[in-house]
Amino acid sequence: MDLSYSEKYAKFRDEVRAFISQHGHSAPPPLGGRAPGFDDLEWQRRLVEAGFVGRTVPKEYGGFGAMPDVMEKRIIGEEFSRAGVNQGLTNQGVLMLVPTLLAHGSEEQKHRWIRPSLLGQTLWCQGYSEPGAGSDLASLQTFAVEDGDDFIINGQKIWTSSAHFADMIFCLVRTEPDQPKHLGISYLIFPMHLPGIDVRPLKTMTGEAEFNEVFFTDVRVPKCEVVGQRGQGWIVANSTLKHERGSFGDPGMLAARYKRLEQLFEREAVSGRRLRNDPVLVDRLMQLQGQTLALQFNAMRVMTCDANEEDPGLAALITKLQACELTHQIQALGIDALGEIGLCYGEGEHVREEGFWQGRYMLDLGLIIGGGTEQIQRNIIAERGLGMPREPKLAGR
């Protein structure tokens, strides 16, 4: 154990702090689910230029070209969180498409798409899940049939956030119907404005349409838009899913979520008694603080393993399951601590923090289900982490 930072990193931290104190005032508030506006794109450009976004993306593709360094990444995250400054776009393009193209894209694809995606000029959505293909994603039934130099695509995607304003989609389609299900899929990229694409908003229990359904009817896409090899889409997609899962392991995010709950306990009072003095509620708060600390330290352990190219094993496999569960419980206690006031939602005099506690509670339930459900996570932990035997396949499949 050595939790101090060497001179090199202390200096780097100073650089990050200097940038934040010089430019932080011009940072727009976090985007949420909206399409980025002028201010958001300007801030993103500045972050890419300074090397705080796309830091390890090679210069030739529009990145900063730094060597991967877990500590630098952590310091950037810590300093921006501490200052409460927007860390740039966290959309599917930046988080998922760019790493995927870097790993599997052709030179032409990398040169064409990485720079505008990083800058937020090209916005992406992810076409993976289908009504009939959720946890069993590889059973997807959106078909791409060859027609000369093109594929003709027919099918339906669901849970496609940002589809209503995205320029492009990275999409899993079945190109080899004769192959076993995992081997018949290709990873295809194409514009969302093509004829035959219909986007319909999908309103959830929060009252907002955070997602969409996307329908494809005879959509024509050139075959050269496949990323990686044809029929290898499952492997390409899994590298993207890995990036998605990794985003749950941010210790700064967990600390911030807990901190907000603690502030609620400071601020709110019931019949004149502040929540921080209520022994029953405080006991629950302390349980969540203990779990938050454990997951924060676990994330530091995983980062150390990553930095030293050691396998973090179980410590990494449990992150999504535990972090989603914990953040959901943090929201639940926020609601409970507010009592009847916790019911207030939407507009009104009594609603707190614009309905954050109820809103996130419902949204977080979606995170428990999305990106590999809690039950799928437990299968992964048991089989890959503990080496338990796989379930026998059903006969005839």
């Binding site: 101090s4 921080r276 150390t304 410590a315 039950q375 048991a382 503990l386």
Partner: protein, 381 residues
């Protein structure tokens, strides 16, 4: 920055694990429980041979001079093997008490002998942890002690006791002094050595002339981290035993480990326990480095392992099915060891109350069940 164990620390773990695997097989734990173990103190000799009592003793007194992080790794291994040997009292809390509060002469009198295992000290500070019950309290009147202390750690074979009095003083009490009475306390966990110490006007040797509250606080926090680590090791073993059993046990024509219901029980245990490892490493290291959050993380380590430990203990037994509750299988030794670690020196609610108070919460007066001692410790710590 490096958040993880060093090569030396991993080697220490391996060495202790090997020694315990050799000397403390389940059969040895069973014979200890039945009282049919060899009369000679063979386990203590093996533990001494592995250097276990010398971990925290400074090198100038012949010890290894290591920190609480290394002690936590040893505690984890002792929990893993449900080893019926003295450790947290005589090898962690007693050396800490001597180093933090002892005179030069007391240090040279005891530390060297603790390291070689030639002497053992019991530790009677349970009431100072804020858990005094049944009228237990030690009063000091001019270094003559009256009263009783419960759950004295490592009481069996102790040459003397480190005793906390009700005014924040620390004392050494010779086990053979007139007026000392030691009564075994029978608990669920037969792998621990706990007793009630009765003091009927016993002349003590004070460990420091004045108030030793700071030392007592450090001892209790160290104990929290040690019991958390002990539970980590025991719970880790219970998960492994459940996973192994589920791979062998066949029902409905297939190993039960292929059923998702069983798999998810095991995954739930592992997912809850794994982050605890990092929490304990940090809490131990924070004590060694006197970080600002050392007290807070020690409390959370104790409370968190109490909760996760209990869940793992019952779930592992359930994965084993009926055989899990038999005496013959012996899984109950781990179950009970974890149960002991949960209650001793404050159950999770008690410890979380301390954590809340550290952060200025629960400041209202007239709260039922508020523990004044804990409050005092929070301030002096």
């Amino acid at each position: 920055m490096r958040f993880g164990l060093s090569e030396e620390q991993r080697m220490l773990c391996d060495a202790v694990s090997k020694a315990l695997a050799k000397h403390v097989p389940l059969e040895r734990v069973k014979s200890h429980a039945k009282g049919t173990a060899p009369a000679s103190d063979d386990l203590w000799a093996a533990v001494v041979d592995a250097g276990i009592p010398s971990v925290l003793v400074p090198a100038e007194h012949g010890g290894l001079g290591l920190g609480l992080l290394e002690a936590a790794l040893v505690a984890e291994m002792l929990g893993r093997y449900v080893a019926p040997v003295q450790f947290i009292g005589t090898a962690v809390l007693a050396p800490l008490a001597l180093q933090l509060a002892g005179s030069k002469q007391q240090k040279s009198e005891w530390l060297g002998r603790l390291a070689t295992g030639d002497a053992r000290l019991g530790v009677a500070i349970c009431e100072a942890a804020g858990t005094g019950r049944d009228g237990a309290e030690v009063r000091n009147s001019g270094n003559v002690l009256y009263g009783k202390s419960l759950f004295v750690l490592d009481s069996t074979g102790a040459d003397a006791f480190v005793v906390a009095d009700s005014a924040g003083g620390l004392h050494l009490v010779d086990a053979t002094a007139p007026g000392v009475e030691l009564i075994d306390v029978s608990t669920i966990d037969v792998t621990r050595f706990v007793a009630e110490l009765r003091l009927a006007g016993v002349r003590s040797e004070p460990l420091c002339s004045g108030n030793a509250s700071h030392a007592i606080t450090r001892m209790i926090e160290a104990a929290w981290v040690m019991f958390a680590a002990d539970t980590l090791g025991a719970a880790q073993r219970m998960i492994e035993l459940a996973v192994n059993y589920s791979a062998e046990r066949v029902q409905f024509g297939r190993p039960i480990g292929t059923f998702q219901a069983v798999k998810h029980m095991c995954a739930t245990m592992a997912a809850a326990l794994e982050p605890c490892r990092a929490l304990i490493w940090y809490a131990a290291y924070a004590q060694d480095q006197s970080f600002d959050d050392a007290s807070l993380t020690a409390a959370h380590a104790k409370a968190q392992l109490a909760e996760v430990g209990r869940m793992v203990a019952r779930t592992s037994v359930q994965v084993h099915g009926g055989i899990g509750i038999t005496d013959e299988l012996g899984l109950h030794f781990w179950f009970k060891r974890i149960g002991f670690g949960r209650q001793i020196y404050g159950g999770p609610e008690e410890v979380r109350r301390f954590a809340a108070r550290l952060q200025g919460m629960l400041a209202d007066s007239n709260l039922g069940g508020v523990d004044r001692t804990t409050m005092k410790r929070g301030i002096c710590g």
